[in-house]
Symmetry: none
Subunit: 403 residues, 2 copies
Amino acid sequence: MRETLPDLVVEREQEGKIVFLVLDGLGGLPHEETGLTELEAASTPNLDRLARGSALGLITPVAPGISPGSGPGHLALFGYDPIRYNIGRGVLSALGVDFHLEHGDLAARLNFATLDEDGKVVDRRAGRPPEEENARLVAKLREEVKGAGGVQVFWESEKEHRVVLVMRGAGLSAELEDTDPQQTGVPALPLRASSPEGERTARAVESVLERAHQVLADEPVANGLLARGFATFEPYPSMEDRFGLRAVCIARYPMYRGVSRLLGMDVAEPAETDAGSIDVLASELQDHDFAFVHFKYIDSRGEDGDFDAKVAAIEAVDELIPGVEALEPAVIVATGDHSTPSRMRAHSWHPVPLLLGSRWCRPVDVDGFGERSCMRGELGTFEAKHLMTLALAHAGRLSKYGA
Amino acid sequence: MRETLPDLVVEREQEGKIVFLVLDGLGGLPHEETGLTELEAASTPNLDRLARGSALGLITPVAPGISPGSGPGHLALFGYDPIRYNIGRGVLSALGVDFHLEHGDLAARLNFATLDEDGKVVDRRAGRPPEEENARLVAKLREEVKGAGGVQVFWESEKEHRVVLVMRGAGLSAELEDTDPQQTGVPALPLRASSPEGERTARAVESVLERAHQVLADEPVANGLLARGFATFEPYPSMEDRFGLRAVCIARYPMYRGVSRLLGMDVAEPAETDAGSIDVLASELQDHDFAFVHFKYIDSRGEDGDFDAKVAAIEAVDELIPGVEALEPAVIVATGDHSTPSRMRAHSWHPVPLLLGSRWCRPVDVDGFGERSCMRGELGTFEAKHLMTLALAHAGRLSKYGA
């Protein structure tokens, strides 16, 4: 007995194009006074019109109760089981700064930290240095701590106290434990292998971190580094291999481009504005079967805890919808990678509203696009990893399973 | 690549408490005249009020169409996959009589039976003896059939014709077939091992059953024993290990305490009444993060086939709700371990109404708590094994999955 469907038989001659509009962090919770969520409160005449003719539902990004990060949230949307295809934190950080990882690269997320005279952690984030200070420290590390013994070393700035360390060389293992003790008043943990397989790599990383500590020793604040999330980069089976799709990513933030690259998507030159992303879409859709367009600000305003600003960010995307419809894709999906209720100021586990527009829907009588109208839709609440198959079907790209 | 979620990272410093109110057998079917289920017909002003602000849904205890026993029904509620963590019948019987099983104990459920002169089964239940008669027979077995060869033997009364046999010793195997032929007019089956691993144990059990038959030979009715459901007791990963919860069971019937003990829950001294259980809850919640309160009579009246009495049993629990709310847990769940429609007089497969109250819900416009209002709720119909993760999320006890 098999546990999974066979490889999907894709009818390549079919030309139905698929557009995924991902409103990052779309799902919300009711406002305590009005009882309406951000999406329900937003004036979205275009999404509402689309919803009235579409298949509606709610997607659970990972599993009930699980609040996903952006990595698993997007993998699921693209049809990759987010549990099976778990991206390590280090790799995600490298993708997030647009670092072009190669097969076998080892990546970790580091924090600049403040240590006292005894080496105990005083501040795990070194006072959250500003961008220029982070850049100065990283430049110093780049200059002074280079590779050795056949291993190349790369240092990349992330935001505030965060740095990405990438090591490239033969046979690197990610079987390493974090050195971040996750508390202050204690020293950083020694770099340990989590299995014998990691021993050799542990010594190489230890040497890099020791040299880095020497270089930072004279810094008044950022005189230490804490490491976590060691992960090696293994390319995933591509969307072209799995679904027969020539896919393109249109995203203005590097992490989303990085995740897309991981799945073999082409990555379009980012636009300056969200409206510009639609112009890019118009152009890229000519040579691609699938386009992922990412809209960031809905999530950002949710994380700010600003209900009204999240509403406005949703409304701004709504204005772009006619431009997408004009391109006449076979399937338009509008959804999010997870919920970010402004009341929670964080990613949450709540299922995400989903609209899938195509010729082949069973619309229900709803006023518009919202959490509660989606509850009544034909798709019910289902795991996000099934969305891609559904979209392929609606685009006429899947053949029958079994005779 | 992994197939399951990593260990859930539980934020232990969070103190959101979770209360599960399990109304055993809660789900029902519409009355043939009124069209209302027991829960819909019951006057439940408190549950209705709670429902209007809660997340609603229906839970499938095991899988569509599967009517669960109490064991799998409760395991699923507590986040244990009831298929993976199947409790053997013998173990469940031992737990049901409050027998304290030890690791490796072998347990079986036996029937007192009536055999004719040729050893053929005349009555598989020996006329369903009353309690005192069962106790007399068990006392006789205890007196006469003790352990031998390093194996201890325990006999415990269950209801009517049922007895629990527990054997304790090194290396006992549950690879044994039932001796109950499940029909009359034929002899009991010989005790057979179902694999070579069970051979040695088969001989030990055979010897115990042979001596028991000698002891019962002079009984006019209960002159035989039929065995089924051999199972060994292996402790499960505890709720504390899996979910970081200090959990407590507040149940007035032994089987539910036994299942809870299996999962490492503390077991509170049972109260005399259901109202008393709420007093116990108030006390136990001070030292626990999670409390399971069990209400038995809804199921009992459903099994009696008494619609009105089941309605009354639901109403009696409703009156206790304000006492639970007064304790201000972060999450209140009210549901059942399975449905017991009074029209069926038995456990059924129908999904069970679920109410989950917390600060983080998306309430829908419903009149109250019932099968059909739950169908419209935000949680949809889902497998009961996911309920615990959802409750942990609503209590603020889970961190994000992936970066």
